[in-house]
Symmetry: C2
Subunit: 386 residues, 2 copies
């Protein structure tokens, strides 16, 4: 069995485990004690069928409170492959992906989504493996005024939906610099702001550090009509302190648009965003692309293998984790898909009251410890035998 | 099926999944591509059989380097139930647990372990649910000179083994205060130092905050003959920043002696210590007790249920996670057990070089962010629609 014969971990467990064991396994693995399935409107499933992408719906409930109403929001997470070969003209490549994803945003609207988020660098192949600046930097757009932000602003307004999209950014006003950036568009179709990827990988084929630097936008939380949102872009999910600062700034949902491949990171995928949801009492939405991308010129991977032209497969497996440690099943490992999840944002504060992780965080201790740890003459706290 | 019919998640998967699927599921769930089984000496398995506890062995390998020799160490992790009813005389209760655990330490020595760690508050029932100070505070001992430290010091010297044990501490020199403390004894049988639990729960039956306060010992790393060790006690595993500081101080193995129960934390158990291993490029060893403990007087759980006398079941499931994100299977959810794991400590730096998480950590950013976040006039970084 090759890695991609297994289309879905969840379907494999459901197929083989007897019902009673499956229930226990799901409780232990996923923190799920009841069926999370959310029935989706026929229009949404019809759109998914027509365009050939997977659609799944789940819901997380919270307790009823006396003084606060339920704050139900529906979140759409989109994973997809690119549309055209990577040597097609840039505009056609982008247009091909736009068409794919527009259908998925339409289905999200039909499914009642209030917020949608794309995968990382969604308008382009993840070409940073090549270290070629041309033509890939041509995919970069102004976050505020670029063609993709404009196109999505219309959809956001039409569908009354917050849209978060993750692109390669060109900042003309600051020396034509390139950034890895997420843009937040309000449900009125207005540009709300942007966040730049805080942690940049230097691993495997992720040669991103040769294209852009560490983000300079801090840890912004976007207060939208549908909750307080933040974006932790891709490799930033490996850094608990990055997740923590979005929590400190009040996030209720943190999206993690990503592009990551099999053996490199798949065993980490189900751990990190879920740990962040637990540690920070918020929802997390890790999103990964699918498919294998072929590039015009061969490149090497720094792992002893011969030069090659393919990058991937990206293993998809988009899911949502809740602050109580439970999580949805994943989208497939290989197909385009839309994950629709209904959240009651009240769960965040309820879990804070229950577990008390924020209350017991001792931030002053860590502010002081990190302050010391970053001094040039820092001496680690090491105890040796006397 | 009740929660405890499923004795082991791993055995359940192994029983029901076809071989090819099982291999893929283990790769995705556990990051394991080859069999980790470590063959154990007959003497160790005989001792385990004689005393009726589970024993399992696993190994994590690292790449061979040219300039550093492999640094193989064997770690023993002990999970156990108490030995006598909780209304037996204190000394007999303690002696009963000592006898149990001494046999397990003997088996650890026979299995070639260099380091052994107990579960949290190992000499006593986890009686803090009751909020009764008497007689439970009588279990507290001086970390440096208490009877249990003395007893273990002899074993440490006899077996040439570092022993870490987690106890209720009585600090007579500082006002007879009570702490939740881990003690490190060198393989020469000498007291090396202690660490006090940094984060204290206020959740469910974990009424520990009525017994002791947040630890005042920082994040010490113990430089032993068998590697740099640290201890993150129980509830501290929910706090990524706690794990991080042990990493900043250079830990290669961080033990997590715990006492935690089913529905409360089991879905978090497999996530948090493993996430810490990944984020900090070190090994983690989460250890949990087993069994249900009955107390003389009834108490309430703050969850609407009637008063009762039982606490638990503690679900065991002790495991080891490696810096590359892989992990061992768990010990059982209900039996006493010794988990023997051979580690090559060289893997820590190899993973740092590969993934670069430490390199890309941006600690100065977080030192500054936390400094600001802990000021009384802190304003979170929130962006609203203009």
């Amino acid at each position: 069995m090759s890695a991609f014969d297994l289309k879905s971990l969840d379907e494999c467990l459901e197929k083989h485990l007897p019902a009673a064991e499956l229930k226990e396994v799901k409780r232990i693995l996923y923190g799920v004690e009841e069926d999370l399935t959310l029935e989706l409107p026929a229009a949404a499933t019809a759109t998914a069928e027509q365009h050939g992408f997977e659609i799944k719906g789940y819901r997380f409930k919270a307790q009823k409170e006396q003084l606060r109403k339920s704050r139900l929001v529906r979140v759409g997470a989109i994973q997809n492959s690119i549309a055209l070969p990577t040597d097609a003209p840039i505009e056609q490549q982008r247009e091909g992906i736009w068409q794919k994803v527009k259908a998925m945003i339409k289905a999200a609207a039909e499914a009642g989504c209030n917020i949608v988020c794309t995968q990382e660098a969604w308008t382009m192949p993840f070409a940073f493996c090549t270290r070629e600046k041309f033509p890939w930097c041509e995919f970069a757009e102004e976050a505020e005024t670029g063609a993709t932000t404009k196109m999505l602003s219309e959809l956001a307004q039409a569908y009354n939906m917050v849209i978060i999209h993750s692109i390669l950014e060109r900042d003309a006003a600051h020396g034509d610099t390139i950034w890895n950036t997420a843009v937040v568009i309000s449900n009125n179709g207005r540009f709300m702001g942007k966040h730049r990827k805080n942690h940049i990988p230097r691993v495997g084929d992720f040669n991103e550090s040769t294209y852009y630097l560490e983000g300079n936008t801090g840890h912004p939380v976007f207060e939208t009509e549908f909750g307080k949102l933040a974006i932790n872009i891709c490799y930033g999910r490996h850094h608990p302190q990055n997740w923590m600062m979005f929590g400190v700034n009040g996030a209720e949902i943190v999206f993690n648009p990503s592009a990551t491949i099999g053996r490199l990171s798949e065993p980490l995928w189900s751990i990190e965003a879920r740990n962040a949801a637990i540690a920070n009492s918020y929802f997390t939405v890790p999103i990964n692309r699918v498919g294998t991308e072929q590039f015009p010129n061969e490149y090497t991977s720094g792992d002893g293998r011969p030069a090659h032209k393919d990058f991937g497969p990206f293993y998809g497996s988009t899911y949502v984790a809740a602050p109580d440690g439970s999580r949805t099943p994943s989208l497939s490992r290989c197909n385009d898909g839309l994950l629709v999840t209904e959240l009651d944002l009240n769960l965040c504060r309820q879990v804070k009251d229950f577990w008390g992780f924020r209350q017991t965080q001792r931030l002053p201790l860590y502010a002081e410890s990190l302050q010391k740890a970053t001094q040039p003459d820092f001496k680690p706290q090491v105890i040796r035998e006397q």
